[in-house]
Amino acid sequence: MKIGMIKATGPFERVVHWCVALSCLLLCFTGMGMMYHSLNGLGTMVGGMANLKTIHNFGGIFFAISLVFTIGMWWKEAGLFSFPEDWQWIIAGGGYLWHVENMPEVGKYNPGQKMFFLVVALFGAIMVASGLIIWFPFSFAVSLVRMMYVLHALGFVIIFAFFFVHLYLVTIGAPGSAPAMFTGWVTKAWVKKQHPKWLKEMEEDGTLVVYGEEKCSKKGRC
């Protein structure tokens, strides 16, 4: 680790993130193997479509548990908007879509990330509920089960499309972001650019952890 890097996430946060992320991807691919006949080959890879369905069903349970932790962990930081600054950010397109002179300063999570979190939380919950009903269709009215197929497919359309936005931003779209979820350490330059308000807040609160420096006590005294 380079000296001067800033701690962005803790190990628990990263573990929960990867639990929900990898199980979500697993569900996307096993689900696609069942939705698209041309991808039935994914079933062959695991010894048949019946196994693919088993992996999908029990992977869904793992996803559901991970989702509970995800929502519990990020609800306060990423689930609530703070107006008016978040509104200004949305109007400015987050500075991602056109040139913006004075971007409002962003805290730990920008409104785009908040929206992403809320979509994952809402549609994740919808996927879990509809998935369970599809898994045990005899316990429910046929008309309800039919609607659940629609919801389950709709959730896939939204989540799968959002996944690519997420992938783009953390790789080449906003370079320097990915280490936050791998090592947990990011560069100061990245925090200044992406979350300047958060940097200030941490400096003021004395919660800023810089690699190679002794941890500052509260009120910034080291």
Partner: protein, 265 residues
């Protein structure tokens, strides 16, 4: 398509002998199971994974106050626009060259989607094998130019099988001959079924017989709208990201774009 067949069921000729029910079990090697008497000659009470065809018994009061017994041979209708085939994730359910809906049992993964989708409630689930089962119009018999077991067994001529056009023509002629409320059921919905009834009474008189069966709207939204939309949306997003990268560019930390940052050359 080799030859589209239609099994014609003339309910005015059915005496509810249930020979078809037994012949079906025999040919398809379907075991008998303990059943429940629910106060009717109808047995078992509903179609089962081991009962692919069933004579339904129904007491019906006519307009003149007289009660008559209605018999209806229930089973797979072999739809052209078959909801079960539409939802089957593995291609286990498929159309044969005769237009009937058959099934590769080894491909079935027991997802039960076809049970939910079928407008006639025909596919039934076998928990022992984790597969569904239903009538396949005796596909193995059709392949060697033999009639389905039920048709072969029928002593009254209520069941017959033949070329689609000829059977439908016959059905209308017979309905006209019967007169009254007699009508032909099956050729006008789900792009035509490969089992067609001649009903002596109006369709809404018969229990468990949908008057206007169709592929459920939810299934159409799922398979014809959202299924392609999933790939289109993902493709559009990937294209959008690429366009963003080459037009607007990435959001890079400021000092990495200066000599002191990332480009230390």
């Amino acid at each position: 398509m080799k030859k589209e067949l239609v099994k014609l069921i003339d309910l005015s000729r059915c005496t509810a002998c249930r020979g078809c029910q037994v012949a079906c079990k025999q040919w398809n090697e379907l075991p008998a199971k303990r059943t429940k008497n629910f106060g009717s000659y109808q047995n078992p009470p509903d179609l089962q994974w081991n009962t692919w065809t069933l004579i339904r018994f129904q007491e019906h009061e006519k307009k003149n106050g007289k009660v008559n017994w209605l018999f209806r041979k229930d089973g797979c209708m072999h739809c052209t626009d078959a909801a079960c085939i539409k939802v089957c994730p593995t291609g286990a359910l498929y159309h044969t060259e005769f237009g009937s809906v058959s099934m590769h049992a080894d491909k079935c993964i027991g997802c039960k989607a076809c049970i939910t989708a079928c407008p006639f409630s025909v596919p039934k689930y076998n928990a022992d094998t984790n597969k569904i089962a239903k009538c396949d119009l005796c596909y193995t018999r059709l392949q060697v130019n033999q009639p389905p077991a039920c048709v072969l067994s029928c002593p009254t001529g209520a069941l017959q099988i033949g070329a689609k056009d000829a059977m439908i023509k016959k059905a209308y002629a017979r309905a006209e001959e019967l007169g009254g409320d007699a009508n032909v059921y099956g050729d006008k919905f789900v792009d035509g079924t490969h089992v067609v009834y001649i009903l002596p009474e109006r369709a809404d008189v018969y229990e468990h017989l949908p008057v206007d069966p169709k592929v459920p709207l939810e299934i159409i939204i799922w398979k014809d709208v959202l299924k392609p939309a999933g790939l289109l949306a993902a493709g559009a997003v990937v294209a959008g990201c690429f366009l963003h990268y080459i037009t607007h560019g990435p959001k890079t930390p400021d000092d990495e774009t200066t000599c002191e940052g990332g480009n230390k050359s």
